[in-house]
């Protein structure tokens, strides 16, 4: 087990006039190699939760274990936890500060004590993972790049640490559809090629559901669902809509067919699957007549 949360509660500004209970009774286990989507409304506590994964926050009550190490224990090596769990914050392009893309991506490995001669390799590798050409970009200033490129550089600057787990907070926020798809497919490739455990945070179900193996749905500081996207759409679509989270368009379409009395299976993730499902129902008249 890679990460384990045991009855975690987190409260901001405890005992202050603006106290916020951001996490309530979170129990969660994440295994190595999983690809997880974390979905919930803005303000439901997603960002707060993922900051527990690398010890930036420690629970108000309850325990967080990263590879068996209790993160709230005094004197533990938090740096080694942060090397294992790479956290990419929302709008990571706002954290860029170096003169060149090379230095930006090299910052992490350097800080974690990698010898100078190995750093260049890391930078090349990381830039490749986000599909930026080393020769074209390494010497450019990160501030001269486009928004999508800046975000990929920021992502590379975490990847260069070679984390075992990558947590991305709304990596596609504020990007145009093309850059969004590009980033998502890069993330998918990173998972497939390197087996890195990934947690993808989003407030939007679209696109995420078809990528991940496991979906965590948060609502008001609690995890209310934890299952495969297929299972959630097939059996809990109603509950999702009830807490105000939309379904992906195809699933929504199937759901409405079902609402109108067509006995279709709503656990579909892609347009192809939906088409197959509808066609198969049309071919068996006994079902569709009912």
């Amino acid at each position: 087990m890679f990460i384990h949360l045991d009855e975690v509660y987190y409260t901001y500004n405890i005992d202050m006039p603006f106290e916020t209970k951001a996490l309530k009774n979170i129990n969660l286990e994440i295994q190595k190699g999983e690809f997880i989507g974390l979905i919930g409304h803005t303000g439901c506590g997603k960002t707060t939760l993922i900051q527990h994964f690398n010890g930036l926050l420690t629970p108000t009550s309850g325990k967080v274990y990263v590879e068996g190490i209790d993160t709230s224990k005094k004197g533990i090596d938090l740096k080694s936890i942060r090397r294992k769990v790479g956290l990419v914050f929302q709008y990571p392009e706002n954290q860029l500060f170096e003169e060149t893309v090379y230095k930006e991506v090299a910052f992490g490995p350097k800080k974690f004590g990698l010898p100078e001669d190995k750093i260049e390799n890391r930078v090349r590798e990381a830039l490749k993972m986000v599909d930026l050409d080393y020769n074209l970009y390494a010497e450019r200033s990160p501030f001269s790049l486009s928004g999508g490129e800046m975000r990929r550089v920021a992502l590379a600057s975490i990847l260069s640490i070679r984390p075992e787990m990558l947590v991305l907070d709304e990596p596609t926020a504020n990007l145009d559809p093309q850059s969004r798809n590009k980033i998502l497919s890069e993330i998918k490739a990173i998972h497939n090629n390197f087996g890195i455990t990934i947690v993808l945070v989003s407030h939007n179900m679209e696109k995420i559901a078809e990528m991940v193996d496991r979906l965590l749905v948060m609502h008001k500081g609690e995890i209310i669902m934890d299952s495969s996207p297929r299972d959630i759409f097939a059996n809990h679509a109603n509950d999702l809509l009830q807490v105000g989270l939309g379904l992906p368009q195809v699933t929504q379409c199937m759901y409405e067919l079902k609402e109108r009395g067509k006995k279709v299976y709503t656990g579909v993730l892609t347009v192809d699957e939906a088409a197959k499902e509808i066609l198969s129902r049309m071919k068996s008249p006994t079902v569709s007549r009912k």
Partner: protein, 265 residues
């Protein structure tokens, strides 16, 4: 390093109380009068009266004393420091002596009085900022400053700058916290090493902070211009400040109390 996003000292706490609903000008002036009289008073009893007066105000404001004293904790250090300096640095009748350090009677009395003065001073300003939203505070300051317009004081511009600064303090703190966390996740270390290393470690924090602040200032300026903002001359206010009976009564009461205590003590 921990950045607290809640600047608990002086953060406005909305309530519906007599003090909250006072005109900000009355509150600001009352505060000023209190502070001036604090510096005129030299005797313990005078401070006690003003202190009770302020505590009365806190009770009326319906703000839980917990919040006020929580804020005071941040200042406690300064008060204790003042007390210690006075204890040891004042010449006079020696009460107690350890080698070259001596505590004098005058030092003790002065130190206690000045700490008490400081305490009330902070209490009064807390009461002002806890019960007045930043917007009405700057409104009040603008109106008060405009009395001095004939001296060439740009009241509106000063108030506008204050409003903007106040508006962006929480944003900047929030952003500082976020960038710090992001850089810590990338292996940055803000609280170890000697002073030079620490200063250097701030670069990954300060550069993004400045870049973002300038970008935001730029956007704000454009947004203001897009709404035809062009300075103070002839601008009207959405919320007109009006002096009501409670304002006059409160102000008169404050003046009387401070005046009498200042003269008597």
């Amino acid at each position: 390093m921990k950045i607290s996003r809640n600047i608990s000292f002086g953060q406005y706490i909305p309530r519906d109380s007599l003090i909250h609903n006072l005109d900000p000008r009355v509150k600001i002036l009352s505060c000023l009068v209190m502070i001036i009289s604090l510096f005129l008073i030299t005797q313990f009893w005078g401070y006690l009266i003003l202190c009770s007066f302020t505590l009365g105000g806190i009770i009326i404001s319906q703000i839980h004393p917990k919040f006020i004293f929580q804020g005071l904790r941040n200042i406690l250090f300064i008060i204790i420091f003042t007390l210690i300096i006075h204890l040891f640095m004042t010449e006079g009748e020696v009460l107690y002596q350890v080698s070259f350090l001596k505590i004098t009677k005058e030092g003790l009395i002065n130190g206690l009085l000045i700490s008490f003065r400081l305490f009330i001073l902070i209490l009064v300003t807390y009461l002002l900022t806890l019960t007045t939203s930043p917007i009405s505070l700057t409104d009040g300051i603008e109106r008060l400053l405009s009395f001095f317009r004939f001296m060439g004081i740009p009241a509106h511009e000063i108030a506008m700058m204050m409003t903007i600064a106040l508006r962006f303090i929480p944003t900047l703190l929030e952003e500082t916290e976020k960038i710090m966390k992001a850089q810590i996740s990338r292996g940055a270390d803000f609280d170890s090493g000697n002073i030079f290393e620490r200063a250097k470690s701030l670069i990954p924090l300060l550069i993004p902070l400045f870049v973002n602040a300038f970008r935001r200032a730029d956007e704000l300026a454009i947004a203001m211009e897009a709404r035809c903002y062009r300075g103070g001359e002839g601008r009207t206010n959405y919320r007109e400040l009006k002096i009501r009976k409670t304002d006059i009564l409160t102000f008169a009461f404050t003046i009387i109390i401070t005046f009498v205590t200042s003269i008597m003590f």
